[in-house]
Amino acid sequence: MTIEGFYDPIRKYFYILAKVYLGGKPYTVNLMVDTGASITALLDRDALRIFGNKVSKLKKSKRNLVGIGGFADTYYVENVKIELIDSKNPELKHTTTLNRLYVVTHHKHFRGEEWKKVSQLPSILGRDILFKARKIIFDFSTTPPKLKIEFP
């Protein structure tokens, strides 16, 4: 099965549309494809939208994750179902489960303009999901460029 992403020409990011199931509810998120990230994580905007003040009640991660400027509060949720949705055909979905979905926030450490910079960062689709793929194609021969992820 091949899932197609979409391209954000403003920031030059490739995204995959996804539904993340938390507490039985599906939350829509745009996940930026990040082959440099070892894990998939919800960052500030999605974390605060989804968990609100309860974000600090999540399980605290002991894993050493480097955030912006070294300041990040890292939590996790266990056994999270994620549907990756094809941007052209909504019927096409690849479902995967993460033992741990990380939730990374910076909002306690940054204010004002610094927070604006930090909160630009989108949630990320990392190698814990990407390495389940058989093939990943970034195609720059088209406008806009295309991303296709083929899962077994």
Partner: protein, 74 residues
């Protein structure tokens, strides 16, 4: 919600109608089914307003359109 044959409205907004987003530099924008439904320069005010409106927050994506994008180097 999906349109045409076929592209999600969200993908359409980013890929084909990014000029709509570019008009909102410096704003946090709330996107529902590919439509911009609210905006604010303050993320927390926007989030609070969305919660008060009792919209389905799970379906809304909040993006920030930077005046100057940060370089992501890691």
């Amino acid at each position: 919600m999906w349109v045409g044959w076929f592209m999600s409205k969200t993908a359409l907004l980013y890929e084909r109608k990014s000029d709509e987003l570019l008009k909102l530099k410096g704003y946090y924008v709330a996107i529902l089914d590919g439509e911009i439904v609210d905006k604010d320069k303050d993320f927390f005010k926007l989030l609070q307003r969305l919660r008060k409106k009792k919209v389905k927050i799970e379906n809304i994506i909040i993006d920030y359109i930077p005046e100057k994008p940060v370089e992501l180097i890691v």
